[in-house]
């Protein structure tokens, strides 16, 4: 064994990770999270000690740290500000916000002040889109940031919930609903009085299909896992919600955690599972205590017990871990590489065992169906798309927020509910279904939002994203951001997506900068079609979806002579997302790479001018978050 530099004391490590040791390799992510809480980052010594403790090969531990954006193998600031630069926030000048923060501290995005008090990063969508522009400051959400008025909300993000029906969101909009207020798990009790098959049949009869994006019939999934050979069986709640524009699960979990937990309990009873997991995205750390408390309450009331209990797992910054098999890998303590399917999760899921994995919103429908009965439930919505549906409305609308409506409402009606396009402007486009979705225009306003009508219109329902762009918006810029998102989030396993997302990004960058090359449109299409047709998982298969829809809708955007857009204004700021800035530098000029491995995360700025240093020093002690980086106040 090589010698290890033990400049870091390992003493506080063990108490922090001890409780995860019995989990074996599956405890790796929790242990890395815990270690990072102690040290702020993951040094070579700490990583080696974790590897030793969990009997995981060193190279594997390194591989895991490298995969997840929220793990750092280089020191970062005590405070870390992650500013979302994805489309909904970009409409609210997220770039300006990021630049403002950065210049105030003399940093570039992705850098850390020399005194290690502060790191500023650009971030993919934080699931706070209706409260844009948004940032995550350590574990807290900072929303509705307004530099002009120097105001913002810090802490629990407010829940803006609307809509003509309030079934799934009955308890949402007024803080966390305690168990006392939620009441007993009546649907679970009802289910437990039924035969397992009958519960499954009820779900099948309800016509419920998954709300996580793939729209697979939930009852059929449950039946598969119920019938599958193998023990134990698992129920997994997919709370990774990372599709840009999506925030519904955040509100459901924060405001009404018991509905999801009850849904999981019913699923567990139906398929005969005795272990459940909630995989919560790493950018929702503020939901963690809420969920933990709800689980405690549910245990106290006996709903969770030795027959069925639930563990929470926190992701660490990887959109791909919302893909079900990548999510399993992540729970198992690995890099989030999607698996080849078949076999499917119902027979070979988590730890290779029969598993039901459902989205939060899907699970929230379950208690409703069981208590009402399928027939009654089907009275909501349409014949082929029964039930209530949540839409995440963001962007240029007067009232962004979460809208619960019955399937069958038209896009126009939904937008009217949301107060129409903001600032009396006209509608240009709606990004429908998320980054992996497609664009709708004025022509689609009267499309009924049901699975069948949307499919006919070529619009994927996806995760219920309705992101609105007014007539003044530059759609090339939107596309560029989507391109950056997918390039940042591709896991890198399969060739079409690993290279295709990168090439797509490069071309979209050129198009946005008005520097299109001859043949770029054909390149973009070939790359897009290849990713769509040949990628291994849903990420690559949909990474060109919005772009290809834009090519159809607005061919003029992809012409060389097409409008140049304020080039320097949006300044090719380099890829600025967290680690990526360095990751890219690495790919381009890996030659400069020294043998010092600590290269992939944020760089520490060697303060160039003393004045900058003073600035960042100022931000350190006591100074409240607000003054720390709001020069508006100081200037």
């Amino acid at each position: 064994m090589p010698e290890i530099d033990t400049s870091t004391s390992l003493t506080p490590l063990h108490p922090a990770i001890e409780s995860y040791i019995p989990l074996g390799r599956s405890g790796l992510l929790p242990a890395l999270h815990a270690a990072q809480k102690v040290y702020g980052w993951l040094s070579e010594e700490v990583a080696a000690e974790i590897a030793r403790t969990f009997h995981v090969p060193l190279a594997d531990v390194h591989g895991v740290i490298e995969f997840y954006s929220l793990f750092y193998n280089e020191p970062i600031g005590k405070r870390i500000i992650r500013v979302c630069t994805d489309p909904a926030c970009a409409l609210k000048d997220a770039d300006g916000l990021l630049n403002h923060f950065c210049s105030h501290h003399g940093l570039e995005p992705g850098q850390t002040t020399r005194d290690r008090t502060l790191t500023i990063e650009a971030s993919p969508c934080l699931g706070l889109c209706e409260l844009a522009p948004a940032a995550l400051v350590n574990d807290e959400a900072e929303t509705n940031i307004n530099l002009q008025t120097d105001s913002y909300d810090l802490g629990r993000p407010p829940s803006m919930v609307y809509g003509p029906i309030r079934l799934l969101t009955f308890n949402c909009g007024d803080g966390t609903t305690s168990l006392a207020k939620y009441g007993e798990y009546a649907a679970l009790q009802k289910a437990r009085g039924m035969k397992r098959e009958d519960v499954i049949n009820e779900i099948k009869a309800s016509g419920l299909v998954g709300r996580g994006g793939a729209a697979f019939p939930t009852g059929v999934k449950w039946e598969g896992a119920f019938k599958a050979e193998g023990n134990p069986k698992y129920v997994v709640c997919n709370a990774d919600e990372s599709e840009p524009g999506t925030f519904k699960d955040r509100i459901l979990l924060l405001d009404d955690p018991h509905r999801t937990i009850e849904g999981m309990c019913i699923a567990a009873y139906a398929i005969g599972a005795n272990k459940g997991y909630i995989y919560l995205r790493g950018e929702y750390p503020y939901i963690l205590p809420v969920l933990e408390n709800a689980l405690r309450e549910a245990r106290g009331a006996g709903y969770l017990n030795e027959d069925f209990d639930i563990e929470i797992r926190l992701g660490a910054g990887a959109y791909i871990c919302g893909e079900e098999t990548a999510l399993f890998e992540s729970i198992e303590g690995k890099r989030g590489f999607p698996r080849v399917k078949p076999p499917f999760p119902t027979t070979h899921g988590l730890f290779g065992k029969p598993t039901v994995i459902n989205n939060v919103e899907t699970l929230c429908n379950v208690p409703l169906i069981v208590s009402k009965g399928a027939a009654e439930y089907r009275k909501i919505g349409t014949e082929k798309s029964p039930g209530p549906k949540l839409f995440c409305v963001s962007g240029d609308v007067a009232k962004p927020g979460l809208y619960e409506i019955p399937f069958g409402v038209t896009l126009r009606e939904l937008l009217d509910m949301a107060g129409g396009v903001a600032n009396k402007r006209k509608l240009q486009a709606v990004l429908f279904g998320g980054a992996a979705g497609a664009f709708a225009t004025l022509d689609h306003l009267d499309v009924k939002m049901t699975f069948e009508d949307l499919r006919a219109a070529g619009l994927p329902l996806g995760s219920g994203v309705v992101m609105v762009f007014d007539e003044t918006r530059d759609m090339r810029d939107v596309l560029k951001r989507l391109g950056h998102f997918f390039a940042h989030e591709s896991c890198g396993k399969c060739y079409p997506c690993q290279m295709g997302t990168q090439r797509q990004k490069e071309i979209l960058d050129r198009i946005a900068a008005g520097k299109m090359l001859e043949g770029d449109l054909e390149r973009l299409q070939d790359v897009g079609w290849t990713m769509t047709d040949a990628s291994l998982c849903g990420l690559g298969q949909t990474a060109a979806s919005a772009v290809l829809s834009a090519i159809k809708l607005w061919p003029e955007l992809f012409k060389e002579e097409g409008g140049r857009v304020k080039d320097e204004e949006r300044g090719e700021k380099k890829e600025v997302r967290g680690k990526k800035i360095v990751a890219k530098a690495k790919a381009v000029k890996a030659k400069v790479k020294t043998q010092n491995a600590k290269k992939r995360t944020t760089k520490t700025v060697k303060s160039k001018t003393p004045s900058k240093k003073t600035k960042s020093d100022k931000s350190k002690p006591g100074s409240k978050k607000k003054t720390a980086r709001k020069p508006a106040k100081k200037r």
Partner: protein, 235 residues
Amino acid sequence: MAENITLTIDGKQVSVEAGTTLLKAAEQIGVEIPTICFHEATTANALCRICVVEVEGQRLLQPACILKAGADMKVRTRSEKVVRARRTILEMLASTMDLSDAPEILTMMDEYGANADRFPQAERRESEVKDDNPMYIRDYSKCLLCWRCVQVCAEDAQYTYAINFEGRGYETQIGTFFDRPIPETTCVLCGQCVGVCPTGALKPKREYLLEQGVSPAEISVMNTGRKRRAADKRG
């Protein structure tokens, strides 16, 4: 168990044992499907997607190296969609990495009419040669991320776990724990990784030195003289 399955590949009927992949089924009737990541000695991950084929009734192209033949399947191995995907994958590879040591891929590029300069201004994956042990060099500019070396170093053969992945997406690279030089890892210099590497990314040291113009005599001195080359480029 050896139940037979009949399917059609490019219009030709073929009967194969249940469990046979489309790749092997096609081979039986002389239909060649290109592969990159597939290797008999490693677990198939179906990640390069160069072997994709069109299966009637399926929206997406399917990887022939792992998809099992199904009764009455109708498979097209050279449809327009297939050729477009293969050509584009090859063109993207050429714009990403150094293919000079990958003659099979260069041949494929000819076959599919792939243009090596299709993607101008593309960011390439480049890195310097890692020459840190007496057995082999690592030139990740030539790595096409087939995963085989990682696999044979782990459960597919050696259970050594000296190498794994760094980064993700386009920036993925094969690497050691915190980029330690090979002698400081668990590597036992078994050379299995070098054996399965389809490009010149992993190369026996001797071969590399010869290419660099070092004479065989000089090499033998080096090899006998010391365990590790002092003149490590890494410093």
